[in-house]
C-alpha cells in the first residue's frame, strides 16, 4: 500500500526495490519556508544492513505488512528446514541459508518465530536461549583452542561450542542463539 512519507513512523515496514526495510528513526527537519525533509533511518530486514534515505514532503513509499508467525520445526530435507505454522498447520520449507549461523541450533519440535512478508518467509528468529544436550565432550578442532579453563563440545544439533572444562557428555547446556555461546549448565530436575 502506498503511503505518504509523513505517515511513516518508527517500526513502519517499507518496501524499496522489492526489499523490506524496518524504519528505526524518522528525523523531520524543515527550513522555514522550505520543503519538509524526512531523513529516515531503516534496516534491511533481509541482511540487517542499516541505511538512511532522505525524502521530501509529498513523497510516497510502499508500506508492507510484515508479521511474525509461530512455527514448529519438523524435519530437515536437503538444504531446507521444514516448519509448520502452529495455527494454520501449513508447512513451509525454508532454505538453511536464511538462518545463517543460527541453523546449527535448530532442534526438533522447537518453536520459532517466522517473519513473513505476505506468504513469503523472510526471516526466522530462534528463541534467545535454547537448551541442548552435549553428545561429545572432547572435540578437537583447528579453530577453537582448548585452554585450561575452556574446551569444545559437540551438541545434539551438531553445533560445537566453547564450554568450561567441568561440562560432561549428557549434560544439558543453555546456549545464547544470538551469539552462539554457552550460558550455563542446566541443572537436572
Amino acid at each position: 500500500m502506498s503511503i505518504e512519507i509523513s505517515e511513516v513512523t518508527r517500526n513502519t515496514k517499507i518496501l524499496i526495490d522489492g526489499v523490506p526495510f524496518a524504519v528505526e528513526d524518522v528525523n523531520f527537519v524543515k527550513p522555514g519556508k522550505g520543503r519538509a525533509i524526512y531523513r529516515i533511518k531503516m534496516r534491511n530486514l533481509l541482511d540487517g544492513v542499516p541505511r538512511e534515505i532522505t525524502y521530501h514532503s509529498g513523497d510516497k513509499v510502499e508500506e508492507v505488512s510484515i508479521v511474525a508467525h509461530d512455527m514448529q520445526y519438523l524435519y530437515e530435507e536437503g538444504d531446507q528446514f521444514v516448519f509448520m505454522d502452529t495455527e494454520s498447520y501449513d508447512q513451509h520449507p525454508v532454505s538453511k541459508n536464511l538462518l545463517g549461523n543460527k541453523a546449527q541450533f535448530v532442534k526438533e519440535s522447537m518453536v520459532v518465530s517466522a517473519i513473513m512478508m505476505g506468504s513469503r518467509i523472510i526471516g526466522i528468529d530462534l528463541p534467545k536461549f535454547v537448551e541442548l544436550k552435549v553428545v561429545e565432550s572432547a572435540v578437537s578442532t583447528r579453530t577453537d583452542t582448548v585452554t585450561a579453563q575452556m574446551k569444545v563440545v559437540k551438541l545434539e544439533t551438531g553445533a560445537t561450542v566453547n564450554v568450561p572444562t567441568f561440562v560432561k557428555e549428557g549434560d544439558t547446556l543453555k546456549i545464547d542463539t544470538r551469539t552462539g555461546s554457552y550460558v550455563e549448565r542446566v541443572t537436572k530436575k
Binding site: S6, V26, N27, F28, V29, K30, P31, G32, K33, G34
Partner: protein, 308 residues
Amino acid sequence: MSRAETLRLKQIKANLKRRALILDSIRAFFKREGFLEVETPLLVPQAAPEQFIDPFAVNGWFLSTSPEMHMKRLLAAGYGSVFQITHCFRKGERGQLHNPEFTMLEWYRVDADYLGIIEDTERLVLAVAGDLGLGSAIRYQGRDIDLSRPWPRTTVSEAFRKSADWDPVLRHDPERFDLDLLDKVMPGFSANRPTVLMDYPAANASMARLKAGDSKVAERTEAFIAGLELANAYTELTDAAELEKRFRDVIQETGDSEVHRPMPRRFLEAVAELPACGGIALGVDRLVMLLCDADSIDEVVAFPRELV
C-alpha cells in the same frame, strides 16, 4: 493521571515556569516599545498561500497557519505597530523542533525595514535574557553563546558561496537550496554567536519586498542561534498587484494538492493600504528552548502532539 504523565510534567515544570516568565517579558518589551497587542482568529476561511505550509481543514474552514494576513489588515486600518503571541497550526510538522500546534510571536513595526526588525529582535532577546537574570551570555547544549548586539550578518549569497560552493541568487534550485541550507550552510554558522542570514533569492521572497536597487534578492532575513532557526523577517511587500501575482504562482504550483487555496481577497484589498513596515514571525517555543537549554520542543510544551 498516569504516573508517566505526572513524572514528565514534574520534570518539565521548571521549563514551563520559565516559559511563563518569558511570555511576561516579551509583552513588557513590546508595551515599552509602544506596540499594541492584538488578537486575530484561529479559525479562518483560508490560509495564506504558501507552497510548503499545509493547513488543517475544519468543516470547510482552516486552522490558522500564521496571523500575518489579519495583522496586516489591522495595520492597513492605521493601528500602528502591533504584536501578537498566538498559536499556529501546520499539518504534518512534527520533529525535535516542530509540533503541529505551536506558539508564534509576530510583530510589525511601522516605518521599519527588515534590518530594523532584526534590531528589534536583538534587543528583545537580550531584554528577555536579562529579565531571566542570564545577561547576554547563555549556555545552550554545551555551547557558550554571546547574544550581545549586533549579531553577525551574512547574505545568503555569501553564506552559500562559503559553505556550499554555489550561489542561489544566481541559480534557482529550490530543492538543493533547502538541503544545502540544512547540511552545509547552517553548520557553517558560528557556534558561539547568533547569525542573521539576509537577502534571500527573489524566488524565495514570499511576502517580502525585493531589494531596492537589486531585484535579484528580497529583503527577507532569518535569525539563527545555536542551530535553531528562530525567526523570519521581511520588509513587507505593499504592492498588492505583485503579491497577487506571487500568490497565483503558489496556487498554481500547489494546484494538485487536496487543499483548496482560494485567493485571499480581503487581505489583498488591505495590502493596497498597508503602510511601509517590517514584520517578523518568531518561534516562541524555540526561544524558550534556547533559554531553558532544552534540546527538544517536547521539553518546553506541556502537551506535545502524541500526549494531547
